[in-house]
């Protein structure tokens, strides 16, 4: 079977999602949360690297994973995903189209957080690369959560551990004494992002962190594809 990829069909799904987003108060409020948080941190003048970087990671989790999960779950809940998959749009086109809006919105929110939290970007090309790799990871996790949830409401429940582990674990690090747990935490995407940004600032080596972050992105995309294939037939 010949596999095609149509920009027109991807764009049609993107435009539909964009129109829908403007009327979706739940998603708009969710997207605004990291911005409020960044504005608050900017106002109180937080100065530790973790605190300043936290709104950016939080933006990636909330806007990348949670919004994507809500959008995929709503398509399932309202039986509109079936309609898309029964149209000429391929599975890849549907999920690229859906990820495109979440991705663009996440980048906008990340940029807003950088500005509001007065975060100094250490090296723009490397920083942008780290954001793009992390975005792929969080969008894949969001799609996975959306596929596993039956309703939008369920994404909040299933997504809570994801937010705690991949978004907020750095904040609890000082309370943990178990060495094994701390070692595992060092390999989490949020910790890797912090390492990369601090490393870029200090001129330290960041290659290994980039590599592990890329592995996370590849594994999460693979897991999403596997789950989709297992669940696509009723």
């Amino acid at each position: 079977m010949m596999t095609t990829f149509s920009i027109k069909r991807v764009n049609a799904i993107f435009v539909k999602d964009w129109k829908d987003l403007q009327r979706n108060s739940y998603v708009l409020f969710t997207l605004a949360l990291p911005l409020f948080f960044a504005a608050w941190l900017g106002r109180i003048g937080a100065d530790s690297a973790e605190m300043i970087a936290f709104p950016i990671v939080f933006a990636l989790v909330i806007a990348g994973a949670f919004v994507q999960a809500a959008m995929v779950a709503e398509e399932k809940e309202k039986n509109t995903l079936r309609g898309l998959l029964l149209s000429p749009a391929s599975v890849t086109e549907v999920f690229v189209g859906k990820s495109l809006l979440s991705g663009v919105m996440t980048l906008v929110v990340v940029a807003g957080c950088i500005w509001l939290a007065e975060f100094t970007v250490p090296s723009l090309p490397m920083f942008a690369l780290s954001i793009v790799i992390a975005l792929i990871f969080f969008l894949a996790i969001g799609t996975l959560l959306g596929l596993l949830s039956r309703t939008v409401m369920e994404t909040s429940i299933i997504g809570m551990p994801v937010m705690l582990i991949f978004g907020m674990s750095s904040m609890f690090k000082s309370m943990i004494t178990n060495e094994a747990i701390l070692t595992v935490m060092d390999y989490l995407p949020n910790e890797l992002l912090m390492n990369i940004w601090v490393g870029l600032e200090n001129g330290a080596a960041v290659g290994e962190s980039f590599l592990i972050l890329t592995v996370w992105a590849v594994v999460s995309v693979a897991a999403t594809v596997i789950v989709y294939r297992k669940r696509r037939m009723d």
Binding site: M1, M2, T4, S6, K8, R9, N11, A12, I13, V15, K16, K19, D20, R23, N24, E75, K78, N79, T80, L81, R82, G83, L84, L86, S87, P88, A89, S90, M233, D234
Partner: protein, 281 residues
Amino acid sequence: MENIIEVNSLVKSFGDKLALKDVDFNVRKGETIGFLGPSGSGKTTTIKILTAQLAATAGDVRVFGEPVHLLKDPARMKKIGILTDNSGLYDRLTVQDNLALYADLYDVGKERIRNVLEMVSLTDEERTPVKKLSKGMKQRVTLARAILHKPALLFLDEPTSALDPTTTKHIHEGLRELNREGTTIFLTTHDMNEAEALCDRVAFLHDGEIKLLDTPQNLRTMSGSPSISLLLKDKTTVTVEPDESGAAAISGYMASGNLLTIHSNEPTLGDLFVQLTGRNL
């Protein structure tokens, strides 16, 4: 005549439950075929297999002469339209926005949106958000979406189940027009009037088996010659047999000026279904 759908020895099971048992049928190009049966008879399962949403457990299913799984290819998908019982719409978007998405996916000009909205009598609701429409109106939007690209083969799962009689009649006219333009229609229904109004052939599906498959006229005459009821001017009803004695009686009532109306007591498809399966539609 060319077959658009060919199904041989189709079996579908869900765990221990057999949903379809050795089903065989063909659908000819340009015909409207209806699967008539109660809930749970296997109608929706059949449509899902024919549209590659479900894999068959066994058997050979071909659509447009090719194995059904090839339908996943975008070029082939453009040739079919599907209206299922749970086709979803984007509630927050307008009717126009919902149809515009599918016009782009099927590479159809936006002017076609107005045509299909006229067919389902929804031109006044073009700018209305879907969430403000009634259930029947939503059903009409999903139907408009299914026919937007003038598919060569249209699958309709209970197309008028939520609609009022006037809209149903309007939709039936539109479907007949689409059929005249060359679209082959496969529909499932439990409404015998709909099957009679639209279908060239009807299959009775019961417990995952096709019990009968023929034209509505042939099906109705299967249970023997129907009697004839005569309504007389004094409001009494007389039943006669369709033979010489019946003809003489009718002639007598007509000659005396006492005859008001003549009715053929043909069994309906529903009567025949009950006779055959012991179950109501």
